[in-house]
Structure formats: structure tokens, C-alpha cells
């Protein structure tokens, strides 16, 4: 197993919440995002049709709860589960795990993000 390599993204104090940067990791495009104070990094190549998923809309997972027969299913966004959606066809992934929301057998590659000495890095394992 090769040693972990850190690829510099940019200074943490210049990385505003809601921003994203595209970097190259081992020949592949990776999107690094800061969402609600947390860093995430995903491959910028949708598993559906190779679209630029890391450049797509960031949102929350919509969940439903069956309360009782005959009543509307209660629907709300789960604030703990940020998702990212490919702008081409809307395939959506859990930003943390990379799992496609409709099928968790489909997993978008994710990367560790670390901050060292005020610099944001993506790990290439």
C-alpha cells in the first residue's frame, strides 16, 4: 500500500462555506466542497454517464415517514445528510459516503480531506 499523498487545495481561511474547488488527484478530477462547515471530496465523474457531478447542486436528503393509514406521508429534508446531484440527469449521492440515494450498491468515490497548518488537502490513497 502506497503512502498517503496530500494534494493541496487552498488555504482554509479562503475556503468559504458553500464553496467548492476542482483539483486533480492521480489523474482524476475531484471536487472538494465545504458544506455547513464540513469538508467533502468526491470524484467529478458521475457513475451514470460521466457527468460533472461535483459541480452539481448540493442539498439535503428528502425523507418520508408513514405516520398512519390514510394520512399523508410526512416529508422533510434530513439536515444531517448532505447530498450532491449531477447536473446532467440528477443522479444524487450522499456526500459523506458516496452512495447513490436510490441504490447503495452504486458508490461514487470519496476522498479524505484534511487541514494542516491552515491548508486544505485532499488525500490520495
Amino acid at each position: 500500500m502506497s503512502a498517503e499523498e496530500l494534494i493541496e487545495v487552498k488555504a482554509a481561511d479562503a475556503f468559504d462555506d458553500g464553496e467548492r474547488e476542482i483539483v486533480e488527484v492521480n489523474g482524476a478530477e475531484v471536487g472538494v466542497l465545504r458544506v455547513d462547515g464540513e469538508y467533502h471530496a468526491v470524484r467529478n465523474r458521475c457513475l451514470h454517464d460521466c457527468g460533472p457531478v461535483a459541480e452539481g447542486a448540493v442539498g439535503k436528503k428528502l425523507v418520508g415517514e408513514f405516520v398512519e393509514p390514510g394520512k399523508r406521508v410526512e416529508k422533510d429534508y434530513d439536515g444531517d445528510q448532505p447530498i450532491i446531484s449531477c447536473p446532467w440527469h440528477g443522479w444524487s449521492y450522499d456526500l459523506e459516503t458516496g452512495e447513490q440515494l436510490a441504490d447503495d450498491d452504486i458508490v461514487l468515490p470519496t476522498y479524505d480531506v484534511v487541514v494542516e497548518d491552515g491548508i486544505v488537502y485532499v488525500a490520495n490513497e
Binding site: H48, K61, L62, V63, G64, F66, P69, G70, K71, R72, V73, K75, H89, G90, W91, S92, Q100, L101, A102, D103, I106
Partner: protein, 372 residues
């Protein structure tokens, strides 16, 4: 293509199988059912000039309200049924079963198939369904002799439907509840029907969704000219629309112990619907938040009557369809004595099924689902 095996007599091949028919139609007459109706429906029906006819469509054959004649303008006749000229009798049902090689049968009302399309008048459907329940119990159903019934559910009137489910709760002759898929508006995944599914689940009654010919002329648009057009498309549309609605609205998640059965659209439409719906779901899962797996996986949890089985299709294609749906989800159905009925030989003749798979389809799945 299936090849003819002239060395084998078809009747003999059936002797070694116990066959349960998941979908046979009792050709009740308006007169017979009217005897069991409450007023004012009894008087109205008796005076409605329906005559003794069970299903014959003389007038509609010429001025069609359902795109033409079921009997293909005189081509199709029935030796072992009174259909379509006269009402059926219990004796004729047994004769028909024996003629096609069926040991046990599940009877579904013929007339309710037509009534379900009349969405403007749920009171009339409820009156009919309640009387049908009593008539069949009293005069036709005979579970000890393998004649079982499905209770028609006039789902447009949820209260009346609940009364019917209460009525059949302790009647062993009724082994399931029948929802005619044609005409269901809103579609049957809507929350308004939840109490019916909850009650069926509680009673251990499978929900049998049966397509129907009512309103076929304008099933989604007017202007078709021949029955081959509306029957091919309309029967499929009626079932597909309800499958999609049930799955996407999460009925299998809301009522996980409810057995769901779909009748009478063959089987090749199922893989097509599964793959199309899965493809959409991958793009729009937020619109079906109750689902815990892909729609296609719920679809294969449902059961399907085989009739009218597409036996003339390419064998490899048909085998792939059986693989995708699963032989544990299929049950033989005849639709006898309707014009396009299937004999059990449609299943026994399939070259790619093992003996165990044939038995599953011919009786074991139905036995388990309907607790026969």
C-alpha cells in the same frame, strides 16, 4: 418459437399436476344477483331490462362501447361454458374446470369488471358487490370442492368496501379481495385506500388487482378503432398504472405483510416496467421517500397471474422474463371462459421450466398466497 410435440398428448401431461387457477370468471346474471340486493337497487335492477344475459354484447358489438366484440365476431365459442349467451351455473363452472384441466379455482365476478369502469356512480358498484358476495356464498362457492371466491371491492366507496371486508371476515369461501384496476381514479396507491389495505393485511386476505375491459374505448384517449388496439394497450395500462402507483406511494412499505397479486396482462410487460421505473428512480428517488429498495424489487415481490401468456414469443426472451420476475412470483391463471383464456398447458409446455418450477406456478404459489 415453441415447437409442437406431436408425440405427447397434452391432456395426459396434466394428470401429474395439481392445478390451481388464480383467475376464473363466473358469469353471474343480473337477475340472479338482483335477488340478493337491497332496495332500491333490487327493484331498479330487476326492472332494468338487463334480461338473463350474462355477458353477451349484441348491441355493443355493433355500436361498440368497448371497441367491438369479445368473441371476435363469431370466431370464438365455448363448449364448456354458457358464456356469452346465458348466465353460468355452478355445474358449468365445474365442467369448464375439468375441460381445461383445473383442480381448484378462484372465481372473480364478470360483471364487476364492467362496473369498475363506471367511476361516476360508486353507489351502484357497492350495491352490486354486496349482493354478489351473498349470491356467490349462497349458491356458487364451495371451498371444500375447490371453488373459492374473491370479494369484489368497490374501492371508490371506502366505507362500503370496509363493510364488505367485515362481511367476508369469517367466510372461508372468500380467499382474497379483488380490486379492478380499470377506472381507479385516483390510482390505487393513493392514501385514501390505505384503510382497505390495512384491513386486508389484518385479515390475511391477499389484494388481487385485476385489469378490466370497462371503458377500454377511451382508456386514456378516444379514437381507437379495433379491439386488438384497446385490448392490447388498455389491459396493460390499467395494470401498469396501478403497479406504479402502489410501489411509488409505498404501499408495500406501509403494509409489509400484505400479499399483492396482479392478474391478466401476461408477463412480458413486467420486466419492461421494472427497468423503466428503476431508471427513473435512480434520477428521482426523492419522489418516493418511503422506498427502501429499487421499485423493481418491490414489483418482483408481487405475484402475477400468467394469462395471457406470450407463448409465441422468442423462447430465450420469454425465459429471461420468467427469470426476472421469478417463478416464485407467478401463478397460473386461465381467465376462462373469456375469449383469450389459457390452459395449464401454456405452463407445462414451456421448455425452460423445471418440474419444480412448473409445480410452483401451477399450484404451490397460489396455495401459499391464498392459504388454500
Amino acid at each position: 418459437m415453441l415447437e409442437s410435440d406431436e408425440s405427447r398428448r397434452r391432456e395426459e401431461t396434466l394428470d401429474k399436476y395439481h392445478v390451481i387457477d388464480g383467475d376464473c370468471h363466473y358469469m353471474e346474471s343480473f337477475h340472479d344477483v338482483a335477488e340478493y340486493m337491497e332496495e332500491p337497487w333490487k327493484t331498479k335492477f330487476e326492472g332494468s331490462n338487463f334480461d338473463e344475459k350474462g355477458a353477451k354484447q349484441n348491441l355493443s358489438s355493433f355500436f361498440p362501447f368497448s371497441t367491438g366484440d369479445r368473441q371476435a365476431h363469431g370466431k370464438v365459442t365455448r363448449e364448456h361454458s354458457s358464456y356469452p349467451d346465458d348466465p353460468e351455473t355452478p355445474e358449468r363452472i365445474r365442467e369448464g374446470m375439468e375441460a381445461i384441466g383445473v383442480d381448484e379455482t378462484l372465481l372473480i365476478s364478470h360483471l364487476i369488471l364492467a362496473g369498475a369502469g363506471t367511476t361516476a356512480d360508486d353507489d351502484r358498484q357497492s350495491a352490486f358487490a354486496k349482493a354478489y358476495i351473498e349470491y356467490m356464498l349462497e349458491e356458487v362457492l364451495d371451498p371444500d370442492d375447490g371453488i373459492h371466491g374473491l370479494a369484489p371491492i368497490p374501492y371508490g366507496d371506502v366505507e362500503a368496501s370496509m363493510e364488505i371486508l367485515d362481511r367476508v371476515e369469517d367466510e372461508d369461501a372468500y380467499v382474497g379481495a379483488c380490486f379492478v384496476t380499470a377506472g381507479a381514479t385516483p390510482p390505487l396507491g393513493n392514501r385514501k385506500y390505505d384503510p382497505l389495505y390495512e384491513r386486508c393485511e389484518e385479515l390475511g386476505l391477499p389484494a388481487v388487482f385485476h385489469t378490466g375491459g370497462a371503458g377500454l374505448d377511451e382508456y386514456v384517449r378516444a379514437g381507437y378503432q379495433e379491439m386488438i388496439e384497446t385490448h392490447t394497450l388498455g389491459f396493460l395500462e390499467s395494470n401498469m398504472s396501478q403497479i406504479v402507483s402502489l410501489v411509488i406511494q409505498g404501499v408495500p412499505e406501509k403494509f409489509p405483510d400484505l400479499d399483492i397479486v396482479f392478474m391478466e396482462s401476461g408477463i412480458t410487460y413486467i420486466p419492461g416496467l421494472m427497468t423503466r421505473l428503476d431508471e427513473e428512480y435512480l434520477k428521482r428517488p426523492e419522489e418516493a421517500p418511503l422506498l427502501e429498495k429499487k421499485p423493481g424489487e418491490y414489483i418482483t415481490d408481487f405475484y402475477y397471474g400468467t394469462q395471457p401468456l406470450e407463448i409465441s414469443a422468442d423462447t430465450e426472451y420469454l425465459e429471461k422474463c420468467f427469470d426476472m420476475v421469478g417463478t416464485d412470483s407467478l401463478m397460473y391463471a386461465s381467465d376462462y371462459p373469456h375469449w383469450d383464456y389459457d390452459r395449464p398447458t401454456t405452463v407445462t409446455d414451456l421448455p425452460f421450466l423445471s418440474e419444480d418450477e412448473k409445480k410452483q406456478i401451477l399450484s404451490e404459489n397460489a396455495k401459499e398466497v391464498f392459504d388454500l
